[in-house]
Structures are given as structure tokens and as C-alpha cells.
């Protein structure tokens, strides 16, 4: 079944005016069916007139710079926090230079909205909020002054700014040393702005007859991307809801929710509700409030695009605040598709899942490298010293295995096409990669691959809302390893877990992360209903996999609250004087069977020790357990002190999950023995795909089940489709 956008080419090419010949030649070579523009490029009539569907990038909030310049009162706003300032010992006034830690070309302090009403100065030493009469501000110098600070206390100022430079545009500008004017974004919370943007949109639609698909980049509010005084990234949060704050929005929030948000609810001690923070109720309200607004206005935008006979896709990055694809409001926008930059398998799984949740809309992954001279980390790609083929293979090896588990519809690239032209090896490589991608769809034929006979549920404070995001936005070893395993994966939160029962689909609950983070769960683990529910689940036959500091919260004499389930506990300095239980350390275990050497789990929690003599230490020793297995009731638990994605660890994970679920018997169903190889079988379509994730030739035995197998050899990074009928009868 072809996607609703594009055709069998499944490939989106970034076109470039002035490079018409090359654009059209590469479209042919790479099998493109869609041509798009990018930030900084545009398409010429000759390209637009070709046989390709045309994506046109549109970022409404920064589309009309004249309007933005004429209305500084409509610029987007946010709260910043000043540097932490320590008062001296003399009791004299403490003057805080508010923007000392920030990039003055990005932010302008908002003195128009009364600082005494909208700002907050907090004594971080006591937690007290200062009374307005205790401080003053000076618009000329951009400072606030605490008249009589308490000696040696630390103070911060939370203050409103206007964003006078759109952050992603700023990033592109600085990265490419552009000289054009600084781009600014307006805030559609203002009715005047919404009216203007819709008028602009209507005009734009009329002026773009060749555009088939409007590629919204993204919607209205950018992820948090704050630069420091050195004009370089200082703070970034790809999932933050800080850039949609304004006095108007806060007033509206108070009206709808019946309470006022304080600046502190958004500034969060200067930690800005980073996704590792266990989200507060207030912040979750703020997210929901924002989602409703964004998707409401987003729907109006999409409706007008549809009315103009065009389709609408959303580029799932940049201005994506409020467009949570797993939130309850997303699908009402009725988008036709989603596109997402992807260099990790977990991201590919996220976008594939999002498309399905939104009703089966088209999903497209924009692959790296982006056609820029340097990458996001500043390393050379399409300039001297770069190696775009190496970079692409590195990413594709991560992404391919995930796409085989949940195929996205399309791939594409972005940036300056002209930069690629000197890299003939890259041009050939992309042609091969595109064909490999299309081959997946040809063989899978719209079916889904075979999976283990149980689902896996990743438990954290975010749950489904942040599906496929674990420790960090980019990757997190565990989600990455999972993304290519034959497993259906749910993401659940601490409300969901309360009703979880064994035998109802979920076979193993995973909890991974550092103590006190949203990923591990922090204070949720002190909730009796939570620990009881997980104990019940495991005791009744379920499995539990804890990684790092699972279930961690100092409470009731325990640090790992489910030490009784996991069979391990972590030393925090208070039990050094207890003799450790004499746990066994078996030399062989189902979980360890394919390990080529000593476990290397990467940075691991230290000082984990057995909490029970029945614990089996699989790696490490009684003072530093690296891996352990433990029974609890009719169920089982596995502990890993850390996890990084590697072939050996990915196999370890698969085996750990099968063992925890008491389904070791299912290992050989559609399985490739060599840890550098994986098998994805599409029984409904009669095909199976074996991939070699390594840069070396690999020989592997592929199993249809325990009885039926084939041996084969794959070239480096190779991929081979096998007709399922070729497997011998068992």
C-alpha cells in the first residue's frame, strides 16, 4: 500500500534553485518522487514544473518578518532565570545583571509587563520569594537589585523576555555565517497574530500553485534553545514547554484551570522542567493547556491547507511544542503526514508509532547527514575532513533495524544539495540506501513483522506521552537496543502501572534511569499503590527488568524500593557494615549465553549488592553487581547496572526480557544467532530479512523456529531477503 503522500519512490529530495540540472539528475538517481525546499534554499520554476510532488516548507510564525518587526509586542516570550548570585557579607544591595548568562542578540528583557507582577526573585538558600518592595529593577541597565539581601544567601531572578531571534533560524544563521536579518517569530496567542497568520496562509497558498504538500516547520513554538553570551548553545531541551509562555497565556491558563502558575512552575529552580525532572502537576497542566491551544489553531491551519487542495505534513522538530503525537489532542489536527529528523532507531520507532496513532498518516524520516558543511556537533561533514558516507552508514545501521520492526513510509534529506555533488561515493551510497529502504516495503507488503509472544512496557514518569524517549532525547541505549528487537513496546506511566496485571499482554516491565529522574521515577516509587502493583504483577508471573537505579527513592530504609523483587539494593553509605547475602554466581545462565566476553554495560551504577541470598549474580561481585537475576513469586526480575547499545548488550537485553517473561522457549522463533546479525520476519508476506549491522562479513544461522534454520553469510552492512518457504521443514 503506497503512502497517502508521495508514491513508490518513497524519497524526498531537497531541491536547490540554480542547481536545476543536478537536482533533477539526483532525483532520478535516488528514485525521488518528492522534491522539497529547505531553510535557506528555494525551488525554481523548472523544478516545480517537473513530474515530482512538491513539498514547500512553511513556518507561519516566522514567515512574515515585516509583521514581526512592526509588532514587537507580538514576539514570542518566555521566562529566563538569571545567574545564581551570592550576596556578600556587608548586607549591601545585590545587583543582578539579568542577561549576564544569556545571548543578548537572542533575548530582550520585557519591562513592559510590570516586573513586580510577572517576575519572581527567590532566595534559593531559604526558598523564600522576595516581596516586590524588597527589590527594584532598571530597564536601562537590564538589572534587578535586591535592596537588603541576607548575607551570603544565593538569589535568582526569574524574568520575562521577548525572543528577538528565532532560535533554530539563529542556529542556522550562525552555523552558516549568514548575513541576512535576524528572523523573529510571533506568538499566535494574540488574536491579532492568529488573524494575520491565517490571512498570510491564504495568500501563501494562493501564491504556491505548484505546492502539493505544505511542510509545516513545525507549528508555532520552538523547542527550548538558549544561547549563552559566547553566541553558542548554553541550554537545550527538545521537549520543553518554555517558549510558549506569555502574560496572555498565563492569564488564560488561570481562567481555564482556576489557579495561577508562578514563574517558578516554569523556571523550576533553574532546571526548566527538563524531561529528566519528575513532572509536577502544574507543569503537566501547562503542557495540556498548550497542547489544546496549539492543536486548535493547528487544525485551523490544516483546514485551510486542505481547502486549497493541498496536503499538510508536520516536520516534527523545531516548533513542535504542543504537538505531542501521543497526547490526546494531536489527531484532531488531521494532518496528512509527519516528518522527523532521525539518526537513531528509537526515533524511527517513535515516528512510526506516531503515524499509526494519528490514524495511519504518512510518516517520513529525514535522514542525516543534513546537507550542511558541519553537523550539529560542529564536526565537518560536507567539507574538508568530513566523511558523509561513514556518517550515513553509522546512522543507517541504527535506523534500518528499527524500520524493519515498524516501517515508516518514506525517507528524505534536507539542506543544500549542491554540497553533496563533490562526494560521488555519497551519491552512490544514497542510491543504494534508498533502494534498500524501498525493498523493505516491497517485501513487507504492508504487513508487520513477527514479535515475541508478549509485550514489553517501559515504565517512567512520562509514559506514553514520551514514547521511545528514555534517558535522553537522542538515544538512550536501552530504547535504542529495543528499537530493533522483535518486541512490541509500550511506554507506561505510574498511573498506568497501577492496573497492570500479569497474563494480559505485557510480559515484562522495564524501569531504567538515574535515581530521582523521571525515567527511574523518583518520588513515584514512594507511592504504596505503585510498588504494590509492580509486586503483584511480578508475583503473578510477570517480569521486571531494572537498569541503573530502578525504583530508586530513599524511603523506609531502602534505596531500591523493589529490592525484594530485584534481589539487589544499592549502597548509599548507610549499609556498608552489613555482610552481603551469600548470593550465587552461576557461570552459565540463559541470559549470558551469547556473550562474547566480559559484560561492558558502559557507565554503571556502582555499589549495588545482593539483597537476598537467592539472587544470582550474573556479572560483577557481591559489592558491585553488574547483572543479576532473581525470582519473586511466580515471576522473575533481572537487574543490569547500566546499558549501552552494542551488539552484545542488545542480545543480552533480548535474552533478559525472554527470561524475565519466563519465555526462554521463544528465543529461536525468527532468530539470527550471530550477535552482529538480526532477523525480521514478515510471515504474512512470506519474507524474512537478515541484516548484518557490522562493518565485517558475518556468517549466521537464521532460525524460523528451534527446529528450522539456515546458515548464511552476509557482506559488511549487508541485508538479505529470504523467502520463508526456503526454511527446511522442522
Amino acid at each position: 500500500m503506497p503512502p497517502t503522500i508521495g508514491g513508490e519512490g518513497r524519497f524526498t529530495l531537497p531541491g536547490e534553485a540554480g542547481r536545476e540540472d543536478e537536482t533533477l539528475a539526483l532525483a532520478e538517481k535516488w528514485g525521488a518522487d518528492v522534491i522539497r525546499d529547505s531553510d535557506g534554499t528555494h525551488l525554481s520554476p523548472r523544478i516545480l514544473a517537473g513530474p515530482y510532488e512538491i513539498y514547500s516548507t512553511l513556518c507561519l510564525v516566522r514567515a512574515d518578518q515585516d509583521f514581526a518587526r512592526a509588532h514587537p509586542e507580538f514576539l514570542q516570550q518566555k521566562y529566563l532565570i538569571s545567574d545564581r548570585c551570592t550576596a556578600g557579607g556587608d548586607g549591601g544591595p545585590l545587583t543582578v545583571d539579568l542577561l549576564a548568562g544569556w545571548f543578548r542578540q537572542q533575548f530582550a528583557i520585557d519591562f513592559d509587563h510590570d516586573p513586580k507582577r510577572w517576575w519572581e526573585i527567590i532566595d534559593r538558600t531559604t526558598g523564600d520569594v522576595l516581596q516586590p518592595r524588597e527589590w527594584s529593577f532598571d530597564a536601562g541597565s537590564g538589572t534587578a537589585t535586591i535592596e537588603a539581601p541576607r548575607p551570603w544567601h544565593v538569589y535568582t531572578v526569574s524574568f520575562l523576555v521577548r525572543q528577538i531571534w528565532d532560535p533554530v533560524s539563529m542556529y542556522n544563521h550562525l552555523t552558516n555565517a549568514w548575513t541576512r536579518d535576524h528572523v523573529m517569530a510571533v506568538d499566535p496567542r494574540h488574536p491579532e497574530v492568529r488573524r494575520h497568520l491565517l490571512e498570510y496562509l491564504d495568500r501563501w497558498l494562493a501564491e504556491h500553485p505548484h505546492t502539493d504538500v505544505v511542510r509545516l516547520t513545525t507549528l508555532f513554538y520552538n523547542f527550548t534553545f538558549n544561547f549563552g553570551p559566547d553566541a553558542r548553545k548554553r541550554y537545550v531541551d527538545w521537549t520543553g514547554y518554555s517558549d510558549c509562555v506569555s502574560p496572555g497565556a498565563l492569564e488564560q491558563f488561570a481562567e481555564e484551570y482556576g489557579y495561577r502558575l508562578r514563574p517558578e512552575h516554569l523556571v523550576d529552580e533553574g532546571l526548566f522542567n527538563y524531561p529528566s525532572r519528575v513532572p509536577t502537576d502544574e507543569y503537566l497542566d501547562w503542557m495540556e493547556f498548550t497542547q489544546r491551544f496549539v492543536t486548535d489553531f493547528g487544525r485551523q491551519v490544516v483546514q485551510r491547507i486542505h481547502a486549497a487542495g493541498k496536503k499538510a505534513i508536520m516536520f516534527f522538530c523545531d516548533h513542535w511544542i504542543g504537538t505531542e503525537p501521543f497526547g490526546e489532542y494531536f489527531s484532531r489536527m488531521e494532518l496528512d503526514g509527519l516528518a522527523n529528523p532521525v539518526d537513531w532507531g528509537s526515533q524511527a520507532r517513535r515516528i512510526a508509532l506516531a503515524g499509526r496513532r494519528a490514524g495511519g498518516i504518512t510518516t517520513e524520516i529525514r535522514l542525516y547527514p543534513y546537507f550542511f558543511p558541519v553537523d550539529l556537533g560542529g564536526s565537518p561533514v560536507f567539507r574538508h575532513g568530513g566523511n558523509p558516507v561513514r556518517d550515513s552508514i553509522r546512522d543507517w545501521m541504527k535506523v534500518r533495524r528499527a524500520v524493519l520492526r515498524d516501517p515508516v513510509d518514506r525517507i528524505g534529506y534536507g539542506g543544500y544539495l549542491s554540497l553533496t555533488l563533490d562526494h560521488g561515493d555519497f551519491l552512490d551510497h544514497v542510491a543504494d540506501l534508498a533502494e534498500e529502504f524501498r525493498d523493505i516495503h516491497r517485501h513487507a507488503a504492508g504487513t508487520m513483522p513477527a514479535c515475541a509472544p508478549f509485550r514489553v512496557a517501559v515504565l517512567n514518569a512520562w509514559g506514553e506521552l514520551r514514547s521511545w524517549i528514555t534517558e535522553e532525547w537522542r538515544g538512550g541505549g536501552l530504547a535504542e537496543a529495543l528499537s530493533g528487537l522483535p518486541l512490541e513496546v509500550d511506554f507506561i506511566n505510574f498511573d498506568d502501572v497501577r492496573s497492570l496485571r500479569a497474563g494480559e499482554g505485557v510480559g515484562v516491565v522495564i524501569n531504567t534511569g538515574g535515581a530521582g529522574t523521571a525515567w527511574s521515577g523518583g518520588r513515584h516509587w514512594t507511592d504504596p499503590a505503585v510498588v504494590s502493583a509492580v509486586r503483584r504483577f511480578v508475583a503473578e508471573g510477570g517480569g521486571f527488568l531494572g537498569v541503573g537505579e530502578p525504583t530508586a527513592a530513599p524511603h523506609g530504609g531502602r534505596f531500591f524500593q523493589l529490592a525484594d523483587v530485584l534481589g539487589v539494593e544499592r549502597e548509599t553509605g548507610h549499609t556498608t557494615n552489613w555482610t552481603r547475602p551469600a548470593a550465587a554466581a552461576p557461570e552459565r545462565h540463559f541470559i549470558l549465553a551469547d556473550q562474547p566476553g566480559r559484560l561492558d554495560l558502559g557507565p554503571a551504577a556502582d555499589r549495588v549488592y545482593p539483597a537476598d541470598a537467592a539472587t544470582e549474580i550474573l556479572a560483577g561481585d557481591a559489592d558491585n553487581v553488574l547483572a543479576a537475576a532473581h525470582g519473586f513469586g511466580r515471576g522473575r526480575a533481572v537487574y543490569l547496572a547500566g546499558f549501552t547499545a552494542s551488539p552484545a548488550n542488545t542480545r543480552l537485553l533480548l535474552r533478559a526480557l525472554l527470561w524475565a517473561a519466563s519465555r526462554e522457549d521463544a528465543l529461536h522463533n525468527w532468530f539470527a544467532t550471530n550477535i552482529h546479525t538480526e532477523l525480521a520476519a514478515f510471515p504474512g508476506a512470506g519474507w524474512a530479512c537478515v541484516i548484518n549491522n557490522s562493518p565485517a562479513e558475518q556468517t549466521t544461522t537464521v532460525h524460523a523456529d528451534a527446529a528450522r534454520s539456515l546458515e548464511l553469510t552476509l557482506p559488511p552492512h549487508g541485508c538479505r531477503w529470504i523467502e520463508i518457504g526456503q526454511f527446511p521443514n522442522g
Copy 2:
């Protein structure tokens, strides 16, 4: 000045009946002036009649076993906690086998004092204490039953036991496979017991005319030493106050302090107020209450010993509860001396300081190896496979440097002298060691060595009460390194620090330990008065040295509360998305000058990063700082991510303290350049001592000051005294 106990021999020999010839020959060879008995040995008339002062060991509470056996109601008591028991899902009764985790030969459950009144059953999942009607107990089976536990909640029972085997005696018994009856200890809280013990003492004194010194081992209540069901150590706390608990004591406490202690105040979530726990007010009250009782009755004991014309020393181990040498009640016992087992320099400093604090009473360190077949860890010493000379040198290298900084009066040994007789090399070695020790006193002539021109204050939640104890009772690398450095060291608590001012003697405050422990300080760091006081101290010119997780407590957006002083902060997962300040990493620094290679600080806090661009990273990198230096006001701070005692780290510490105190100029005052050597100068006596702490020959330059130096070579483990007049004029 000779000590008040013993003479110029300064050596206490453990005699052994049946080995009279050998005892007397070794007394001659080792220069002993005192002969003692040990647990398991006694002295015969021929030894007693010799020219030696006689120490006789007496442990009153376990001296009269007939009395203990006749009065089980007087046995010592304590609270134990049951294993943590997880209730099942059916809501059925949960029966807890109270002693399942403990050694049934050590403890008998006390059902005589009404369990419903004296026990506590706690739902550790909620923290709720169960009502007495919610549970029952059964004396026959030694169980308690919770009638209707909440499904999947975890329960513990805190219950009273009688100690039916004195723990140190039990340890000696099991270690040496004795077959004698189990020794039990009685509790002098009972007036009948006190009366009986004093009568026994009077009789004993009359029956021991040859005894010159009564060596009390120790007083009345043993440190916590609980065995598990495998008859091996399960939990030990050398400083715990759990073994002096009884209903009578608790009633008396309630009367004196006006509130009742709950079992939980003593059981402490099963963590038993281990010294790493930040002590609660209730526990500190309990310690004070116990100290008053112990020293009151201890004074009565000492007075009777004095009345009998004998002296009294206390062996500072075993039954030492309540005899805190730095508490306010200790000196009123009017002991004549203190003895302490010592295998670390920090312990030698502790006992030397204790003797001074108690008015200059005699201090004696009992060296290791103890004359037992195996050591405390079970490794062979005086049996096949052991090497007592190697063990002794290992310890003496740690102890000698500390004794040079604060000379204790005497040394000695304990155990079965007969075990040493086959080890001729050990007999010669001890003769040399004893002479080396006496040489210190001959040269120092009662004077103290020269020190740096400022004091160092170690700040933790215990302060002076636990002087020279840091991370663990035994050692703690930092205290160990400090013990031999030319520094006067104070131990201060979070009350003391409030009034600390720069320029009044203390040059550097040290804070070292893991987050949340009493050593680092835990909740004390959220006290505004504490952080303000330390900031003031440093800003006004003081120094601060933080090691590991200093000032750590998550509060107000910070983990290291004094990140502004230290210049570093630790990542707890919430600031991974911040670009680290661009701190400098100088190649040379005063602190690093003598480092022979890369810093090896041992297990270190990870993910420490610069909090300020002005921080200097001395080792590690911006994501994992190992050592850093930072200015704050007129003062300076140094951070070390870990610390283990080694020659290189000891030098690092000295330099870090001098730099933090802004007294780099003082480095060369009485200084040996080679890191394996140290110099202790006694200017008042005209002598300086150079020691070689290493097993290799070392050449070193010894400085009287920056201008005057000598070069010399020392044999392995060597020690040389130099007349100060031999230094050239500057």
C-alpha cells in the same frame, strides 16, 4: 617525661601462663615494662612476681558468669529488626520469624516485657505503625503475625531481645573454636547488678594483689556486633549505642528527657543509626543519656580501684558505649590511662588526642597483629600462610608517621604469646619497632612537633565527638593521610561552623563524604546559617577543601550547595543539557607540583563539572572533574572527587591545604621533598626525624625552611634523627 603508667620501656607484653620462660625472655628482648593478660590467657605467679608492672584485664559485666546465669532478667538487651517481609496478594496473615536473619545462639526474644507495649510493627511501604490489635505474637515459635496486612506492602518488626552471648567473647570463641560455656554480660542499669558488680570488684581487687593496673575491657556495653544465622558477622557498628537499650533504661530516659523514645528511634529503618546516618536529635539525646549513666557508674568503679591502691586504664574498644572520649562526661571517670587497638594512623591520633583531652592521662596503642592464628578478616597470621612481619610493617608505616605528629605514651600487644615463638623474624622485628618507638620519646622529650601556621577543621555532623573518624571507623583515606601531616586538626560539627571566622586559627575547612551521610552532612547543608557561615569564612580569606560529595543536598536547584564556593557541581541527571562553563585546565599548579603521574584518587564521585568559568580543572575534564581549584572572595576552595591514602595523594592533600589557606609559602618549613618520605621536627627539643614510608631505599632533600636543606638517603622503611643544628644556615 615518663607516662604515669609504666616506665621508660613503654611496652606492654601479653604474658601467658605455662610459657613463663618465653614470656620473661621476650619481655627482656622487647624492653617491656608491663605484662598483661588477655581474653583466654592468664598470668602465672612466676610472671606476677617479676619486676614488671602488671595489667590485669577485667570486664566487670561478664566477669561473674554464675551471677549472669542465675539472673537472666539482668542480661543485656537491645532492639533487633526482623527481616523485611513482603505481604502476599491474598490479604492473608503474614507471619514473621523474628530471628530468621539473626544468630539464635546470640539472642533470645524478650516476651517478658509486653511486646504490645515495647515492640513496633511498621508498614515500611507507608511508614505507618500498626496498632497493637492488628498483630499478635507467639512466644513458642518466636514469631509475630500481622492479621490483615495490606497486599504487597513490606513489614518489619522491631522487637526486644536479651543477649545470651556476649558478642566479642562470642567472636573470640568462634574464631578460636573454644569449647567453654558461652559468656553472657549483665546490665548495670539494674541497681541489683550495680551493687553486685561493685561487690565483685572489691573482692577481685583484694584477690589481685599483684595487679598494678586494672585494664577495664572496656566498661559495660559492647559495640554492636550482631551475627547472622550462619554464625558469622552480619552487622557491626563500632560506635553504635544499641546494646545499652532496655525497658528500664527507656523508662528512665522518658523521665529525664520528658519524652519517650520509640523503638524506631533506635532501629532507624533497620539502619540502626549507623555513624554514616546524620544523627537525629533523639539519638543524640540517647547517646548523652547513656554517657551520663556509664561515666557515673564508671567513676564509682575507678574510685574503688584507686582506693585499692591500683591504677585504672580503659581498653577503648569492645564495651566502650558511653565512654566517648570527646564527650563532656568522659573525664569525670578520672581514669589513669587509655589503651586502644591501632592499625591506622588516624586511630593513633584519636587516642593521643583523647588522652590529652582527659587531662594528659597515659595513652597506649595495642598494635596489630593480635597474637591469634588469623586476623579479623580471617586471613592467616600466626599460622601457615601468614606473615606477621609483613603485616606489622604495613601497619607500622601508617602508625609511625601519626605517632611522630602526636606521640602516644606506650605500645603493646595482645593475645597468645606462644603463637609468636616460631616466628623468629617477628621477634626481632618487634624489638626494633619498640626501640624506634622509644626513640621518638627520647628525642621529642615531651615537646610537640612543628606544624603549619594554621589549623585544619574537618566538618561533619558528628564533629569533635567523633574526632579522627571519617568515612569509616577504620581509616577513611583522608583522615589517614592527615594523621601524619604537619597540621593541627580539629573536628567540628554544624553548630561549631556557624561561628567560624577566617583569621582566627582555622585556615581550611574540610568536608568529605558521600551525599546524605553524616560525613558530608546531608540535611545540614540546607540550613541557611550553615552555608552562609562557610561562605563568609571562605570569602574572608579562609580555605575550603571538598572531597567526594561535599555540601551535597538537593535543594534550590543545586546538588552541591556550595557550588559557588567550590566552583564545581555534580550532575544528577537534570543538567545534562547545559553546556559546561569553559573552565581552564592549567598544566601546572602548586597543588599538583609533586605528582609523579596521573592522579589516582580511588573510587571518585563521577559527573562532576565546573560550575564557573573561573574554576581551574587540575585533573579530569569538564564532564568528570577529578580535582579543581577555585577562588571565592578573598579565600580559596579545592575540590577532589575522591581520596585514598597514598604517598602521592598525601602530598596532594598537603599542597591543597596550603594552597586553600593561601599559605603556599609555608610548604618548605620542615619538609621532605620525596613523597615517600616525611619530616617531623621538634624544634623545642632540637631534633627532627625523617622517615621513609616505602619498602625501597629513598633519597630525599629535607628542608628546615626554603633556604636550608640537607640531602640524605634512607633504607627501606627507615627512620633517621637529625640534630636541627646540622642544617646549614640560610
